[in-house]
């Protein structure tokens, strides 16, 4: 795969997006990072690019607590889009609420639930698994 990895970050916390982007930059792989500050913005983007597999993300790092459309609402809407491309979705949240964790584990398309802050090694593993 020579095409750069398409990584999509969905989080309303600017600081977290900033640190995440910095951490991603440290990983030496060709990649494109797109950020959205809530689920609805991301859904709009995916809908606009639904026929263009290359523009669709390979990896989504999804926060739970966001305005307008939160992480779980995003997943619900995302499932309705019936996207062919195999996109790995990771839930990335500072919530240690067992309900959130259980709910995330019950959704099969969520690859993993990661509690913030994500470790650099974990981030690297995620990227390499897709490359």
């Amino acid at each position: 795969m020579n095409r750069p990895l398409n990584i999509c970050l969905i989080d309303d916390d600017d600081i977290h997006l900033y640190t995440l982007k910095r951490a991603l930059n440290e990983i030496e792989l060709p990649k494109i990072v797109t950020t959205f500050s809530d689920g609805e913005e991301a859904i709009n983007y995916i809908q606009d690019n639904i026929d263009n597999n290359d523009s669709l993300p390979d990896i989504i790092l999804l926060d739970i607590n966001m305005p307008i459309m939160d992480g779980f609402d995003f997943i619900e809407t995302y499932l309705k889009l019936h996207i062919d491309k195999k996109i790995s979705i990771y839930m990335l949240s500072s919530s240690v609420n067992p309900n959130d964790i259980k709910r995330a584990k019950e959704i099969s398309i969520i690859s993993d639930y990661i509690i913030k802050p994500i470790k650099d090694e974990t981030l690297e593993q995620i990227l390499h698994s897709k490359h």
Binding site: D13, T19, L20, D38, P67, S94, V96, N97, K116
Partner: protein, 427 residues
């Protein structure tokens, strides 16, 4: 409080037990009575049988010329027994029944027997024809009324027993009604309020539980998120070599610290509300609260040219905590201005109405509105924001709800996208 509810509970149990035992006691008394009555009827029946035997034997003794055929001693024994039983029954009647009818029946029958015995005795002592004739006549004449008398005694005993049975039946019937009424009364006075209290406590507990969960969420998210950010920023800061880059990072650290301080403030406020043991309730004039809110919001009101109208004519005073009410007004009115529609001047109408014991206050605006079908369940939730607004922090309505509910009030919202929202509090 606890003591009195326990006392009521004990009263309920004790009275129930007393009722059951009284009922049982009455039944047993009745059974005992019935046994005694049966014995008496039996006895009087036997007496009647004896009387028949005695009357017959007296007649035989009189008729029988050969004195030795009939044994006078057996007749004497029979008569003695009859007399002793008769006396017993007579005394028993005096003691227990005091039936005048029985009393006279006893006297008459014992007189009749006496007369018959005398006639028989007279003949035995003096066996002349004329006396024989007289004796037989006397005995034959007395025999039938005597037997009828004895019959009447049995019948009277039966009647008395039946009367008693009817009486106890009545007593038991009314006692059952009494028990039912007592139990129903106690049920409605003791058990139902008790259940109601339990129900209310249960609802309160559920609410407290939900709030505690939210509290766990606050600590989980609102504190963990900035701390995790700080750690990440620190990590980047340490690995950075450029001074300029470090400065950028430091500015971000400052932002996070600012947020963290805010969150801590909110947390403390939340804890204070949760421990609301010393929250002062006072009569508050609504127009004072509104004036205070307008003062605090002077700047946004001025910038948005918002028009705020109020009608407190039908309910001008509420009983609540002043700080809470100030903050509730500040939040709801502040939101109306914050989330104003771009194409129109915000208009806010605040109206109060008296309710049974509480006051209803509505805040109607013409702002952006919220899609309640989509967000309704989260409207008052923590960290939920519905508009992309830089100042939306998802805590205002949550705290408002907690403040309203902590003092027994309710809050709800109606809204239509791009028409406006109406928030209603009942306090």
């Amino acid at each position: 409080m606890k003591y009195s509810s326990r006392l009521r509970y004990i009263i309920f149990i004790v009275t129930t037990i007393i009722l059951i035992f009284t009922d049982q006691y009455l039944l047993e008394m009745r059974l005992e009575d019935q046994k005694l009555d049966a014995e008496l009827i039996n006895l009087s029946g036997r007496q009647r049988m004896y009387s028949q035997k005695i009357a017959n034997q007296l007649l035989f003794v009189a008729l029988e010329t050969d004195k030795n055929v009939y044994n006078t001693s057996s007749l004497k024994a029979l008569t003695d027994e009859w007399k002793s039983e008769h006396r017993k029954l007579y005394l028993n009647n005096l003691e227990l029944h005091q039936s005048k009818l029985l009393d006279s029946l006893f006297l008459i029958s014992s007189n009749q027997l006496e007369n018959m015995s005398e006639a028989s005795l007279l003949f035995q002592q003096n066996q002349s024809d004329s006396i024989l004739q007289f004796s037989i006549k006397t005995i034959a004449k007395l025999k039938t009324p005597f037997l009828l008398n004895m019959e009447a005694i049995v019948a009277e005993y039966q009647r008395l027993a039946e009367q008693k049975l009817l009486k106890t039946k009545n007593v038991l019937f009314w006692f059952s009604w009494f028990s039912i009424i007592v139990l129903i009364a106690e049920f409605s006075i003791i058990i139902i309020p008790f259940l109601n209290k339990l129900q209310i406590k249960n609802v309160e507990l559920e609410k407290a539980n939900i709030q505690l969960e939210s509290f766990a969420d606050i600590t989980s998210h609102n504190l963990r998120a900035p701390v995790s950010n700080l750690n990440s920023l620190l990590h980047i800061y340490n690995s950075s070599n450029s001074t300029q880059d470090r400065e950028t990072i430091f500015l971000k650290i400052e932002t996070v610290i600012h947020n963290l301080t805010n969150t801590l403030g909110n947390l403390l406020e939340f804890l204070k509300i949760k421990n609301n043991n010393d929250v002062k309730i006072e009569s508050i004039k609504l127009n004072e609260v509104l004036d205070h809110t307008k003062e605090l919001l002077t700047d946004p009101i001025f910038k948005s040219s918002a028009v705020i109208k109020a009608d407190f004519s039908t309910a001008s005073v509420v009983k609540f905590n002043r700080q809470y009410l100030d903050s509730i007004f500040f939040n709801i009115i502040g939101n109306s201005i914050k989330y104003k529609a771009n194409d129109r001047i915000p208009q806010i109408l605040i109206k109060s109405e008296p309710m049974k014991k509480k006051t209803k206050i509505t805040f109607k605006d013409n702002g952006l509105g919220i899609d309640l079908k989509r967000h309704g369940s989260k409207l008052f939730g923590l960290n939920k924001t519905f508009h992309r607004h830089p100042e939306a922090n998802g805590i205002g309505l949550y705290m408002t709800k907690i403040k309203v509910e902590s003092l027994g009030g309710t809050i709800y919202a109606e809204s239509e996208v791009d028409k406006g929202s109406t928030f209603t509090i009942i306090i």
